[in-house]
């Protein structure tokens, strides 16, 4: 199991996560920030549990994020 967390408020809308992990990320047309698909928002931390197969792409997205607001943990 993999847990992905996104501090959405700090997103600057660079689009890297969408390019690198398209199955899990989309750009919101409402506010131009990235949205973590299927995630639940708890006090600004958007979190979702996904299959191990999604780890690599999302890990790449986390590394590319210019504001370091994506966390990917294998549990």
């Amino acid at each position: 199991m993999v847990i992905i967390t996104h501090q959405r408020d700090k997103c600057i809308g660079c689009n890297y996560c969408v390019e690198l992990a398209y199955q899990r990320w989309r750009m919101s047309k409402k506010d131009g920030k990235a949205t973590l698909l299927g995630a639940e928002n708890k006090k600004g931390f958007h979190t979702v549990r996904v299959d191990d197969a999604e780890f690599d792409d999302n890990e790449r997205a986390a590394k590319a994020c210019p504001v370091n607001i994506i966390q990917v943990k294998m549990i």
Binding site: G13, C14, N15, K29, K30, D31, G32, K33, C65, P66
Partner: protein, 416 residues
């Protein structure tokens, strides 16, 4: 006499906005959330603040411009429309834009457009092109005075008019940070940190120290000037008369990321300078006074930029500010006894002494500077107010619980 040149101030928050209004700005520019060139700044306004900004500024007769000048992607298009619609509703005077999507939509909605420095306007034909959309354009920061004058003259000669029917008004940067690259064309931050300067997320690689390494023998060269990519800040106050003579209409001060006291001091100095040019009292003596005051707030050392024909930049020898004064946080506002004219603060750090120069900043208060001549702690006359104490002293301006109290000290004292 009030100068006919418009003085445009940066506003990173309500405190800076108020400081700009109080110190004589004719207009202010600011960003909301994203899609402005200071996306990383935590102090950007939100869309909900637009009404209050417009209202406060309209009362003071100050124009308001919203920056919407990053690169724009498809996923940004709907938010751009939202922002421009809000600009229109709230009575903000114009948007500062670079992307054609923004320029086009703003024009279609009847919202005034200013051309951003991100578009690097460097010749009169470009002015003619954008005159189809914009009444005001900022010129590239890399032009000389002669080039600025040629463009201003060309506008008059060719009768280049904007959508409002008036001659296009030319704006230049008069003070503040300079980019090591031509504005809008630097990719260092993107390449090293995936963080695009042109989306407002510059990590400022140019402000760091670098070594040059010879890859063949591994020798490392440390250069005398360690900050080889970090330009000093632009300052034009010592030749402002020549700059005004070129025919510019707007003088823009850079610094949305800087503190409110920077806005207060810089705007006050340039206000005095512009007005003294207008009434013929601009003098060397005044210039040295302004320079000394400008040096008290954030700066990387000053030079005249490219206006005077210099081909290469001047690089700073400091990582951060060379300001001659620093502010030290003391505490927060508690109460203002308006009948007696007494301000009360809670000291949370350091201590306040009689004779200290103080600085108060806040979203409604703006910037207030004063000197402590007398004060009371726990209802007794005192010379020192220590951490944890509540202090009162007479003050002409109203203070609020959202205000912060600082003492202003010479920079050396802070470093030692």
């Amino acid at each position: 006499m009030r100068s006919s040149v418009e003085l445009m101030a940066p506003a990173g928050g309500f405190d800076s906005l108020q400081a700009a209004i109080d110190n004589g700005a004719d207009s202010v520019y600011f960003g909301v959330d994203q899609l402005n060139m200071r996306a990383r700044a935590t102090m950007n306004f939100t869309l909900g603040d637009l009404e209050e900004i417009a209202e406060r500024c309209q009362k003071a007769g100050v124009k308001t411009y919203l920056t919407l000048n990053t690169i724009v992607y498809d996923h940004d298009l709907s938010i751009i429309k939202t922002v421009i619609n809000r600009v229109k509703e709230s009575g903000i005077d114009a948007v500062i834009a670079s992307d054609q999507a923004v320029i086009g939509y703003a024009k279609s909605q009847g919202v005034d457009v200013h051309i951003s420095t991100q578009l690097n306007v460097t010749n009169v034909e470009t002015v003619r092109f954008y005159s189809l959309f914009a009444n005001v354009m900022v010129l590239s920061r890399e032009l000389s005075l002669r080039q600025v004058k040629d463009i201003c003259d060309g506008i008059k000669k060719d009768n280049i008019r904007g959508p409002n029917g008036d001659l296009v008004r030319i704006e230049v940067f008069g003070h503040g940070a300079l980019c090591m690259a031509v504005s809008g064309k630097c990719y260092l931050s993107l390449h090293t940190s995936n963080s695009s300067a042109n989306r407002g997320a510059c990590v400022q690689n140019c402000r760091r120290k670098y070594k040059v390494i010879d890859l063949e023998d591994g020798h490392e060269l440390e250069l005398d000037n360690e900050y080889i990519m970090s330009p000093k800040d632009l300052c034009t106050i010592d030749f402002l008369d020549q700059l005004v003579d070129t025919g510019i209409s707007v003088l823009k001060i850079e610094g949305r990321g800087r503190a409110p006291e920077y806005v207060a001091t810089t705007i006050k100095c340039y206000r005095e300078a512009l007005d003294s040019i207008a009434d013929g009292t601009y003098s060397e003596e005044k210039v040295s006074d302004w320079m000394a005051r400008l040096e008290t707030v954030y700066n990387r050392g000053f030079w005249g930029g490219y206006f005077l024909g210099q081909e290469l930049g001047e690089w700073t020898d400091a990582s951060g500010s060379k300001a001659t004064q620093k502010k030290v946080y003391l505490g927060k506002g508690m109460h203002y006894y308006s009948k007696a004219g007494i301000a009360q603060f809670k000291i949370e750090a350091q201590q306040l002494r009689k004779g200290d120069k103080i600085l108060i900043t806040g979203p409604t208060t703006g910037v207030v500077e004063a000197e402590i001549t007398t004060m009371r702690v726990d209802d007794h006359e005192a010379d020192v107010a220590t951490r944890g104490s509540e202090v009162t002293f007479p003050l002409d301006s109203i203070i609020r619980s959202s205000d912060k109290l600082y003492k202003v000290v010479p920079s050396e004292e802070v470093e030692n």
